[in-house]
């Protein structure tokens, strides 16, 4: 029971702990990296290089008044932030960290992740709707439309990988990449999934549902204290999830030269994408809402279909 194996208690506990600690730590990492990219210093006072800023932030957010607005729909309002945390943490169940570390070895791993991502949309929608506030409603409206348009080609872009690997199982997908990462044959699929992943986790430049400058915080306008914190950590968890997915699907997961253990390879690759997402936040402006929609439906969806078509044809021809 206390050995690392897929589904062992030690494995599950360490994944849960590592992922949540990492998500909290990312708050500091993001602020620090953003400030470096903006020629500032960032939070560097609390602890070594400011790393205890996370603890300070957590103390602040835990001791804040847990307030529910009198005009809000109480049950849904409380439920919404929990959904996003649960759903994203559930998605980590199928992520293959190393051959030994993982929660389940599901043969529909890719579908499971996509299903959980779709459920995550409920959190954002219900959060905005139950707040009974026009900005929150606008935010959830945007979130709903963004989810609808992005989940379609998010799924389709992954199908190219699934066709090549011949499996929906994320572990098998990683193992089939032993003789070549899927980034090479599936480069377009990778680009599309990258964009869809950013949109999925509401990160800049696609943080249209919560656009602070336009609709003041979108769906979590009315949230404060730990309920806001759950949305916040949920977003960072989503960031870690998308980075892990990209690593597993396109960059060979734990595979790498043997001088480093598999978990280090996986963390390095995922960390690279986490930093890349932060860089995107530092560099790119938010597109207009209709631009995002038309870009998704008119450009990325046909492109992902074309990618799937070509991949399928090539696989058929070489079989």
């Amino acid at each position: 029971m206390f050995t690392f194996a897929v589904g062992s208690a030690l494995s599950i506990a360490s994944i849960l702990l590592a992922v949540i600690v990492l998500a909290a730590l990312l708050i500091w990492v993001e602020r620090r990296m953003l400030s470096f990219w903006q020629e500032r210093l960032g939070p560097n006072r609390v602890g070594w290089f400011g790393i205890m800023q996370v603890v300070a932030d957590m103390i602040k957010i835990f001791t804040k008044e847990d307030w529910v607005p009198p005009f809000a729909d109480r049950l849904t309002f409380v439920l919404a932030p929990a959904i996003i945390m649960i759903v994203v943490l559930m998605s980590f169940a199928v992520i293959p960290f190393t051959p030994e570390v993982g929660v389940i070895d599901s043969n529909v791993g890719v579908l499971f992740v996509l299903a959980m991502a779709s459920l995550g949309a409920y959190s954002v929608m219900l959060g905005g709707l139950s707040s009974n506030n026009k900005y929150a409603l606008l935010g959830s409206l945007r979130a709903a439309a963004q989810m609808v348009s992005y989940e379609v080609f998010m799924g389709i872009s992954l199908l190219g990988v699934v066709v090549l690997a011949g499996s929906f199982n994320l572990r098998e997908i990683v193992e089939t990449q032993a003789d070549g990462w899927y980034i090479v044959p599936q480069f377009i699929g990778f680009l599309i999934f990258l964009i869809a992943g950013v949109a999925e986790s509401h990160r800049l430049p696609f943080d249209i549902p919560e656009a602070e400058q336009e609709i003041c915080a979108g769906y979590h306008t009315e949230y404060s204290g730990m309920k806001f914190g759950m949305f916040f950590v949920g977003e960072y968890l989503g960031l870690v999830l998308v980075s892990s997915l990209i690593t597993a699907l396109f960059f060979g997961g734990w595979l790498g030269p043997a001088f480093l253990p598999p978990i280090v390879w996986f963390s390095l690759k995922a960390g690279f994408f986490i930093l890349f997402f932060i860089l995107m936040r530092a560099a790119l402006p938010r597109p207009r809402y209709d631009q995002l929609m038309s870009y998704g439906w008119l450009f990325l969806l046909p492109l992902s279909l074309l990618n799937l078509l070509v991949t399928g044809a090539v696989v058929l021809a070489t079989m």
Partner: protein
């Protein structure tokens, strides 16, 4: 189609690279309380009243600074010494109103009121933001080292008659016909 790719992917990649390079650029900010930023000599900060090279107050209580002040934060009262020099009986600046615009410095005919690069003026009590003449007056000459108003101005004071100032011609005797 090509234009769309150029406008989205290519332009975004260029932006990403440009921002990424900032990682290796020294930060523009300094860690303020530990590390003092360089303050430019012409920075408009805390207001002082300077003295002339002889150690006398430069202010002649002309009230031009109070008139120029857009927020009316300067209050002063004129008084006169026995030798005919004007000076402020009190000179009061309410720094809770002052916007550090520097108009008083520009209006001052005697270079008495000057703005300095000091900006650390926070107080816990609002009343402490009101500075009296004793607080404002410094012992030095400020930015103008040799300037002494009564030595260059034509104003007659005890010990200096008309025409005795620096670079000043003798007053014309309008009753004489001699050239």
């Amino acid at each position: 189609m090509f234009k769309l790719i150029k406008d989205t992917l290519l332009s975004q990649t260029v932006t990403l690279w440009g921002v990424f390079r900032k990682l290796f650029v020294k930060a523009d900010t300094v860690q303020y309380p530990d590390e003092q930023p360089y303050m430019f000599p012409r920075w408009r900060g805390r207001i002082i009243l300077s003295r002339d090279p002889d150690g006398e107050e430069r202010c002649v209580a002309c009230n031009l600074c109070a008139v120029a002040c857009p927020v009316d934060c300067i209050a002063l009262q004129k008084a006169e010494t026995e030798d005919g020099r004007w000076y402020p009986e009190f000179f009061r600046i309410n720094f809770s109103r002052c916007i550090m615009c520097g108009f008083c410095e520009e209006a001052c005919p005697t270079n008495a009121i000057q703005l300095t690069p000091d900006f650390e003026m926070a107080e816990y009590v609002r009343q402490d933001m009101v500075w009296e003449k004793e607080d404002l007056l410094i012992d030095g000459v400020g930015k103008y080292h040799d300037y002494n108003f009564y030595r260059v101005a034509g104003k007659r004071v005890a010990g200096k008659d008309k025409g005795e100032a620096l670079n000043e011609a003798e007053p014309v005797d309008v009753r004489s016909l001699l050239p």
